[in-house]
């Protein structure tokens, strides 16, 4: 007869054909899949009709087994094939089929997997034989598999039992020479009605049970004569081997030159054993080494036989520690056992130790729609979301970075695990499985979830093929999963293409927000399968643009990123980038960051808040923030004015609540990691600085100089540090204890000398002698006077003086009616304070129109809510004993006729302050001044006309705000370091850049998200209380608000394409600075381009397909 080289699985197909198999069903599962694939090919070639093999990929193994049984009782030889796990799915019918018995031969091929090459367990199915009264054949080579399959049909018919042909990966996937026999003709005898035989009601079942014994004995006799148990050769020492290790033992003995000296008894049929023949053979030997993988199945039976028959043979194997009970036996294991048991050959050579090298685990293919789906899911759900996965290609979602398998069990359990965990934890969970798995065992699981209204998102990853096991057809072509889900009662069912990341993320977000059982069908055909038939035209590969990839626009401003990105951060970047619809290229620097006086990376902390990574968010805030508690309350928030979301059209025209996010982070750090808020101390430089003025600017320069290794002495005219923070901002905006925390941290690292007023207690001449450098931050405290004609009212007071007195609990003038002149923050602060100090009616009168008032808009609104009247566009025109006269101003026109008296017992004047002239009056060191009398400085370095004197804050020209004052301080420290230690050392820490005065917006669209409003005290209650009005965001609100951030700026550290998407076609370049795309592996799916926030990926050649998708 001819011979052919066949794979073990193909040998089984051939054997069955030679036995005239008429019906085959199975479910693919490695390492059995080539069996069903083989019959699928044959069936396709033969077509339907007389003499053709009937074949089907069954929906699951239970159905395959039942169909094969049905064929067998209808007189057709049948075979079903599956992996060992699948046979357990079919456990119910399997346990009854032997009772009922078959008419024509029925062979069950079940492929085991020692070493768990492709399986979650390596269960030893041989035990099913004695457990269920099923004969078990265990081939050792493809040739034996071929012969056994052919003969198994006879065994089945002789005993009327189904026969289990148990293979292992080694046999199934070895290719060897097989001698072919003739193909047999197919005959089908037909079903003969005999209910007593085929209906196992209890009365019949009991009869069948008794008959079973006789049938098992028939099988035993057949096996004894089959030639599959060959007890050949007699010696003192013999090996008894079964399955794949029998072939390995044979080869090892040949290679070590011991062939023939140690007979190898080949036991290819392991149940029922030909006991009589075995006992006779064992009588003649002294020692038998049992070689079998996994459990001591045969070894235990040989031991029992030896005991029952009082044989003297010594049984060696697992119980004698010659062999392990787990994993496939490699030849060196068998070689060692032979050597140790019988002294033959030598111990296996010492094998070279494998160097430590990176593992190369299988991964989802480039362009895999499952990866796109998982990446979107991770972006759409929170970082702590639980995912339950299932059996299929998508199991690989377990690996980093996708990590979408928190638990996994078996086919169909993705939904049940999710539902069960949701039920006991109360958390909404996600279960995922593929289309084939859904039909296999997922439908009942989904029905159960729907029935119980389980709080789960059930995701079906429909790639329209059973790809994992070799691209077998999936029942998905026959029925829409959505229709099934709806028919099962699902109310929330959505479908999405994972290549559309924005839609997929949005769909997952909706499913996340829903309650009960949501079904999301994520559908995109497997591109590998599409490429297999050659119909699909390959899309162009993508390239990474080196000008955009990992390039931070802020680097151009001399800023370095000190906070590493995290996967959670990158997932947020990916989410936002996917959902942004850009009408023009993004600005290099996010508008918010470009105007921030402290040059904070605002999207940096927003992104980490979304990811729940508050320590990283704190690091971003603290990169250049000195007084965090104060800044997060009183910053004038130019960032929010520049925010792109604030400039977008429609209902969402509201900027991100950036300062509230900052406050959330600072309060988190106070609670959880206060050390993150502490000033850093640099290595001592030996340099000493005097800082005159302990306000925002002086405190900032002090902290920054300490970080640069300077020794700092801080002087202030007042007894208490803090400047305006302590004396000038009312408690309802900035509580005492918040300032105290900020001050304590700073004063801990400097020498503080209170009560030292420049010009009175010390001079620049003195300080420049004692210190290496001096920073002048004395502020502007001389109030501008309001020079008006007329008799003055009872009390007139400058705003700062008023606020200071009120804050220090000194006696302040009060009145039923109070008028505040001015439109800035000091005016609003004074007005609100007056209300709290007991005034009945408070009016703010300012020359600006409402929109032009310098005060923070939120503060103006809050004042109005408290009952304060804002009189805009009026100029004070004269004093009066009863108050102050004002005239309306419209543009440049004033109408004297409409002059109006604002009645007041107290008028507070808030129209600005000048530098205190006394400070420099008698100083030997003189500094250049501006025409306005302020100290003239270099804007970058804060250098004055004296080489070692620097100045900033309100004492120099520029914007007057707490945050701007701090920025002056930080820049001055850099300037001082540069002047005294050189630029190179100074540049080790980057100062904030000069904020941009022109905000470049960005025309972009994004899904609507309402601004979260931080809680505030009820205006009725708060108007008479000094309690802080604004409260901090809750964690939920902070994360929701941070999610609104569009992450406009380019990121220099992002590797989202690797660390969020995990596409294996993307790697780092040789310098590991930027990413590169492997053009051979890239299939052009474009998902990386969707989620790249820097927009660095472009197709090599633009095609229509991409034009449709909107990829540039």
């Amino acid at each position: 007869m001819p011979s052919e080289q066949l794979l073990g699985n193909d040998a089984i197909v051939r054997g069955a054909q030679e036995a005239g198999v008429a019906f085959v069903a199975g479910y693919p599962g490695t390492p059995s899949s080539e069996i069903t694939d083989g019959f699928a090919r044959i069936s396709k070639a033969q077509g339907k009709g007389e003499g053709a093999i009937a074949f089907e990929y069954a929906v699951n193994e239970k159905i395959a087994l039942e169909l094969a049984f049905a064929a067998a009782i209808a007189g057709a030889r049948s075979l079903c094939a599956m992996k060992h796990l699948g046979l357990m799915v079919a456990g119910d019918p399997l346990s009854t089929i032997p009772y009922v018995g078959v008419e024509a031969g029925m062979v069950i091929v079940s492929a085991g997997d020692p070493s768990c090459y492709t399986s979650p367990n390596e269960a030893d199915q041989r035990h099913l034989g004695p457990m269920l009264h099923i004969p078990v054949l265990d081939p050792s080579t493809p040739a034996e598999a071929h012969a056994m399959t052919r003969a198994a049909f006879d065994l089945s018919e002789v005993s009327r039992l189904p026969v289990l042909l148990r293979t292992t990966t080694r046999v199934a996937h070895s290719r060897a020479e097989v001698t072919l026999g003739p193909l047999a003709k197919i005959t089908v005898r037909g079903f003969v009605r005999d209910p007593a035989r085929y209906v196992p009601v209890p009365a019949n079942a009991r009869r069948m049970r008794v008959e079973l014994k006789d049938r098992v004995e028939k099988a035993r006799d057949w096996i004894a004569r089959s030639g599959f148990v060959r007890l050949e050769g007699v010696a003192d020492d013999v090996v008894l081997a079964t399955g794949a290790p029998a072939a390995t033992t044979h080869d090892v003995l040949r290679v070590i030159g011991a062939e023939g000296r140690i007979p190898v008894w080949r036991v290819g049929a392991v149940h029922p054993l030909p006991e009589r023949e075995l006992v006779e053979a064992l009588r003649k030997v002294k020692r038998v080494l049992v070689v079998e993988e996994l459990s001591p199945f045969l070894e235990d039976r040989i031991l029992a036989l030896a005991h029952r028959h009082k044989l003297g043979v010594e049984v060696l194997g697992k119980h004698t520690n010659h062999f392990p009970e787990e994993f496939e036996y490699e030849p060196h294991i068998i070689q060692r056992a032979l050597h140790e048991a019988f002294g033959v050959g030598s111990a296996p050579r010492k094998r070279p130790v494998m160097p430590v090298i990176s593992s190369r685990a299988p991964s989802l293919c480039p362009g895999c729609p499952h990866r796109a789906a998982f990446s979107a899911a991770r972006s759409a759900f929170d970082e702590d979301q639980l995912f339950f996965n299932d059996i299929g290609c998508y199991t690989l979602g377990y690996a980093p970075p996708l990590r979408t398998a928190d638990a996994l069990l078996c086919m169909g359990a993705g939904f049940t695990l999710a539902a069960g965990v949701a039920r006991v934890t109360g958390k909404r969970t996600v279960g995922t499985m593929g289309d084939s798995t859904f039909f296999h065992a997922g439908m009942p699981a989904l029905l159960d979830a729907i029935k119980e209204d389980a709080n789960v998102v059930a995701v079906v990853l429909d790639n329209q093929v059973t790809a994992m096991t070799g691209f077998q057809e999936s029942p998905t072509h026959g029925g829409k999963i959505e229709d099934v889900a709806r028919a099962l009662g699902a109310k929330h069912v959505e479908t999405v293409d994972p290549y559309d990341q924005a839609a997929t993320i949005a769909t997952f977000r909706r499913a996340r927000a829903a309650t009960g059982t949501s079904v999301v069908v994520v559908r995109h055909p497997c591109p590998v399968n599409e490429a297999r038939d050659g119909t699909k035209v390959r899309l162009p590969a993508y390239v990474a643009d080196t000008d955009a990839c990992r390039v931070c626009g802020r680097e151009g401003l001399g800023l370095r990123c000190e906070v590493p990105v995290t996967e959670g951060y990158e997932r947020n970047l990916a989410r936002v980038a996917s959902q942004r619809k850009e009408r023009e290229p993004a600005p290099e620097v996010a508008p918010c960051a470009s105007v921030c006086p402290l040059s904070l990376c605002i999207q940096g902390y927003a992104g980490h808040i979304v990811a729940g990574e508050y320590a990283e968010a704190t690091a971003h805030v603290m990169a250049r923030t000195v007084l965090p508690e104060s800044v997060c309350r009183v910053c004038h928030r130019p960032c929010e004015e520049a925010c792109v979301r604030g400039a977008m059209n429609g209902a969402e025209k509201a900027p991100i609540a950036i300062n509230d996010l900052k406050r959330f982070v600072v309060e988190w750090a106070e609670r959880e990691k206060p050390e993150l808020l502490l000033p850093k101390k640099g290595a001592p430089s030996g340099l000493r600085a005097a800082v005159v003025g302990a306000g925002s600017s002086g405190l900032a320069v002090a902290v920054e100089l300490v970080a640069r290794g300077w020794d700092v002495t801080l002087l202030d005219a007042s007894e208490r540090a803090g400047g305006l923070l302590t004396h000038g901002i009312p408690e309802h905006r900035l509580p005492e204890e918040a300032v105290a925390k900020d001050l304590a941290r700073v004063l801990d690292v400097v020498t503080f000398r209170p009560g030292m007023r420049l010009g009175r207690d010390t001079t620049l001449a003195k300080l420049t002698k004692e210190y290496d450098a001096v920073y002048l931050a004395i502020g502007a405290h001389a109030p501008r006077a309001l020079d008006l004609p007329g008799a003055k009212p009872t009390a007139i007071m400058p705003a700062l003086e008023y606020l200071r007195a009120s804050r220090m609990s000194a006696t302040v003038p009060t009145g039923n009616h109070v008028v505040v002149i001015g439109g800035g923050n000091a005016a609003i602060d004074a007005a609100r304070t007056a209300l709290r100090d007991g005034a009945e009616r408070v009016t703010v009168a300012c020359i600006e129109r409402r929109a032009a008032m310098p005060a923070l808009a939120d503060e103006i609104v809050a004042a109005e809510h408290e009952g304060i009247f804002i009189r805009t566009a009026v100029r004070p025109s004269g004093w009066d004993a009863r108050g102050v006269w004002v005239v309306p101003v419209v543009g440049d026109d004033e109408n004297e006729d409409d002059e109006d008296l604002l009645e007041a017992e107290l008028v507070i004047v808030a129209i600005g302050q000048n530098l205190d002239a006394d400070a420099f009056a008698r100083d030997a060191v003189t500094l250049d001044r501006t025409p306005e009398g302020l100290v003239a400085v270099d804007r970058n370095t804060c250098a004055t006309s004296h080489p070692r004197v620097f100045a900033g804050g309100d004492a120099v020209p520029g914007e007057r705000s707490v945050t701007a004052a701090m920025a002056w301080g930080l820049r001055a420290a850099w300037g001082m370091d540069g002047a005294l230690r050189g630029r190179e050392i100074a540049d080790r820490r980057s100062p904030p850049a000069i904020p941009s005065t022109v905000v470049r917006g960005w025309s972009v669209d994004a899904p609507f998200a309402p601004r979260r409003i931080a809680p505030e005290l009820d205006p009725k209650l708060r108007a008479r209380s000094s309690s802080e009005v604004m409260q901090a965001f809750s964690e939920i609100d902070a994360r929701a608000e941070a999610m609104r951030c569009l992450m406009c700026g380019k990121c220099g550290n992002c590797r989202a394409c690797i660390e969020a998407l995990g596409c294996p076609a993307i790697a780092m370049d040789a310098t590991r600075a930027q990413v590169v795309v492997d053009p051979v592996w890239c299939i052009g799916c474009g998902v990386c381009a969707d989620l790249c926030s820097n927009r660095a990926f472009h197709p090599v050649v633009a095609t229509e397909a991409h034009a449709v998708k909107g990829v540039p």
Binding site: A244, A247, D251, V255, P331, P352, P355
Partner: protein, 226 residues
Amino acid sequence: VSRTQILLVGVGGQGVLTTAQILGAAAHAEGVPCVVGQLHGMSQRGGSVQCTVILGEGAESSMLCGREADLVIAFEPIEALRALPQMGPATHVVTSRTSMIPFEIVYKNERPPDVDAMVAQLREVAGDVRAIDTRGLVGAVGETRTLNVLMLGAAVGAWPAIGADKSGRPALLPLGEGALLEAVRVRCGAKYFELNKKAFELGKTAGSGTGTGTGTGTGEKAVEAR
């Protein structure tokens, strides 16, 4: 006992399985008894793949029995290194120098292993190591998927296919070139045969060490032999 143990290693998608089948088919055609082990599992998805080809009378198992591999054909140097436990002084290794960086290294942003260092590690264990600069050669063929046939050619070029060497050891590849190429034609399709034949020839020249500079394009020698 005449038994040649060949180990083929590479990355899923590089054609390890196909090459094992080509060797098996050539052996079948030449009447050389042969067992091929093609454990693949999830290998299609970019994982490590190892296949064995056992040639010789009476072999039943597809595993490397009793001693190290006689011949290792490695389509990728990291995978060659992974096969180090299967190597010994009698092992002949022909490996591609073109490494494919495992995702784990990219993900952790670690430095990829140095190819020269890897080849040196192989030489510490294996008796004869040929490292082929395949990048340029594959470029000269114009089709990356011919890498496996190119490496097969390199093995043939390095240790000529037929006949025993001076020590009397059986030939590493007791298979005729004609049979190998015919198996390539059948397995890979007539459409790609000319490309594959070119790859085989380029590989053979490179493997023999005579084809220095053959289209390598990198300035490196096409082959370095010990």
